[in-house]
């Protein structure tokens, strides 16, 4: 066992768990952040997509021992606090378009969408169809078209 300290949703946490336990399970099973979902455990379905230092990543594929004390992890539960207002603009767009069906993939979809907007902004451009085609997050309910509409809408609000 080893102690690991990092920040989750603005709160400094310390956990006592073996180095090689993947962060997804530290978040879910140890710390109780159940927003990031398990869908595959091998960085394929992207249901656990969260942010580390503002960038999208998949905690199912990161050892807790690889986190630094300065690392800031944001899960869907902490997304709203990263922007003014009750909800993040991407969450507002999601509500406006009633994107969710079963909702299981939605935390990951929203976190991926926010990171995508930041990424294209940093590249000085707008979101293209090719960007949307490249999103790997699985939605088994098949609500992909509403996801695309909401991302464009959310980007306009951000």
């Amino acid at each position: 066992m080893a102690q690991h300290t990092f920040t989750v949703n603005g709160e400094i946490v310390t956990v006592d768990v073996a180095d090689d336990v993947r962060l997804l399970w530290v978040l879910r099973d140890v710390l109780g952040y159940t927003g990031p979902k398990y869908g595959c455990g091998i960085n394929v379905c992207k249901a656990c997509t969260s942010h580390i230092n503002g960038k999208a990543f998949n905690p199912c594929s990161v050892r807790v021992g690889d986190l630094e004390a300065t690392d800031e992890v944001t899960t869907i539960e902490g997304l709203a606090a990263t922007a003014p207002g009750d909800l993040h603009p991407m969450q507002e767009a999601w509500l406006e378009r009633d994107v969710a069906q079963c909702g299981y993939c939605q935390p990951g979809q929203i976190m991926a969408a926010v990171a995508l907007v930041h990424k294209v902004r940093a590249e000085g451009r707008e979101i293209t169809d090719a960007d949307l085609d490249a999103i790997r997050n699985v939605c088994r309910c098949g609500t992909y078209n509403r996801i695309r509409e909401a991302i464009r809408d959310g980007a306009a609000r951000m």
Binding site: V17, A18, D20, V21, R22, L24, W25, R28, D29, V30, T34, G35, P36, K37, Y38, G39, G41, I42, N43, V44, A47, I52, K55, A56, F57, N58, P59, C60, S61, V62, R63, D66, E77, L79, W94, L95, D98, V99, A100, Q101, C102, G103, Y104, C105, Q106, L116, K119, D129, D133, I135, N137, C139, R140, C141, G142, T143, Y144, N145, R146, R148
Partner: protein
Amino acid sequence: MTTVPAQPARPDPQEAEQLLAQSPPDSPPGDGRRGLSRRGFLGYVVAGTTLAVAAELTTGARPAAAAVPSGPQVAEVFDLGDLQTRSALPTSQLITITLDGNGVAHFAIPRMEVGQGITTAAAMLIAEELDLPLDKVEVTLAPARPELVFNQLTGGSNTMESMYTPIRVAAAVARGRLLAAAATLLGAQVSSLTARSGVITDTAGGSATYGQLAALAASAQTVPVRVNLKSTSSFRVVGTPQNRVDARDAVTGRKKFTMDLAVPDALPTMVCRPPTLNGSARSVQNLPAVQAMPGVTDVVVVDTGVAVRAATFGQCIDAVRALEVTWNPGTVAGESDESVLRRLKAAELPMAVPKVPLLARTVDLRFEFMFRSSAALEPNCAIADVRAGRATVWAGLKSPIVAQRNIADALGLPQTSVKVNVVTGGGSFGHKLFGDAAIEAAKISKAMGKPVKLMWHRADEPRQGRTHPMATSRIRATLLGSDVLTFEQRHTSIQTDFSHGLGERLTAMAAELPAGLGNLGFAQSIFTLTQELPYDFGVVTQLLNEVDMGFNTGSMRNIYSPDVACANELFVDQLAKKLGKDPVAFRLEFLKNERVKACLRKVVEVGRWGRAMPAGTAQGIAVHSEYKGATAVLVEIDCRPETVNRTVRDAVTGPRVTKAVIAIDAGLVVNPRGLEAQMMGGVSDGIALALTSSNHLQDGHFLEASWDNYFYTRQWNIPPTFECIVMPSDRDLPGGAGEAGVAASVAATACAYARATGTVPTRFPVNHGTVSFTPKTFVPPVPASPTDGLSHTY
């Protein structure tokens, strides 16, 4: 709030008769069953300290006798929905709405929410009939209620059809009681009161909220009450687009699924599963070593493999991978796609073409449909806490009473000692009709003597989980001049498992079913109850035969229809071609159902059927009729090499559907926004079934173990242009929605592919011939989680 007794006091029959006799003389005869008008129904006020109202779950169901078919096909006049809606009549059990002191109406729906939107639709019905704002209605999922017998099964897209009237009746009883209580409180006549948004006002300016009236409106006894429902034309909520009631929880991460529940001491648990389908563990070589691994608390052998319980799921995965097990072979040892196809071919029933004139031409085609995984994104999972003499289970269960019975049998407990909580599901698509994970979790909890939170690994799902069975469909038709004289279909399938409760319903109702149906087996009966060929094709026979080879099967967003419709509509295009007719013109000529025709005309118009398109691209069009509704789909597909050969890492690209237009007549629509969402999902499923998603069986096991092996539709496969048209309907009851969009979508995609490539595909999905991935290991049965996640941030 009060707890309503499971067996509320029955009203005195004489008293009920007297109440019924008070029907106003001007009520039309309507539904003669109860002597009430078409909108007049009987509900109950249930004894309690706050207002509780109820209705029989079967209120409004059509009597079977009135539905015996007069036409050639059973499903047109008495379909699977009717069977489900009708099947609990003898049990006469109640659904209950209670109103609390804050004016919030609570309803525990005896169905399961899996994303299809039934909690939102049910809340809308209550808001409508009770004159409450939507956010003052709270719909939860009822636990297993064995007294409901056959009437707690979520399937067949039947929830709105079966619950529409009972929910409204209960809400209307509540509204009536509140008005009466307000009249007493305000000293006014009921006729001078207005109920709106949870407040009742009188003409003198007095008012009372539902919250204030909830206790006053309560009844000391359970009494029957006659109510009239609102007319459809006065609806303010039903029929308007509404967002899901759980949308905010979904986007903030607060929505709780089974694995998100914190049940004390229910530690993460997984199973090391056999390398072949349904194999079993003979012995474990390294039990002490695995028991000593970090975090591991328990390791036990169960009938499905070796179960491991640990502090985190990550440590379960490590332990599952470390286990050294000697395995017994499974139920399909040595079998492959080709060997199963041979068995199906051998089981195909012969055609029996009636005598046709000598000059008649014959068209004959045969189609094959591969195994498909019905797994949702939320894998099979359940929490079980089995103690001496009792057990509690939490899981997503669409048939919780059957699961409860199966769990009780597995544990050797009476059914009454097993509490089964139904948790909202992260998708289902038929997968959660079965209590596989709940039963397995209960067995493991018993074996370990501890609570467990069981999760299947993703790799377990396509490999050991339920699949839609492989099937073939052979069709032969005869043509004379421009007439179709005969249409014969022989659908042959690996057996579909109906042990989730639907089979029992059929058995119980055998005597009441339309002529002859009760004599067929379950599967043949369900096939007959779901298939309606919407065309006038002379002598039509559609028969099913099944082969049981020991696969784990079930429905997958419908049972037979996506395959049957795909085969039929491809065949119809070929008939049109033989007769030199346009596919749309041919369909309009032979379709016998006006609602189907209206949907077809709509997608022709919106999708611009027949527009000029480049070589290698084409439109396809298809129709379907089921769930008391109709659908038509038009798609455009791009099969040009530059599109087909585009590359996406670890993905299947292939032909791209570039546009999809779907029109649906779903009868009375409760929530058009929810219906559109279901159609969007149905189209995504249809594209996957036609083009990309299948399991490959080799040497007794399925190769797929990941979402990058089992190619469900992804962003790079979806049509950038999607349009759904909700057709106006003259029906006064809702039909089905959840599965309704799939059949015509797979068919239209297949038809478009055939027109774009000039080749009629006969095996689905069309890419099945290529294994587009390197199969993961079978021993260990699950892949290790990567460690390079920080190298892939963006």
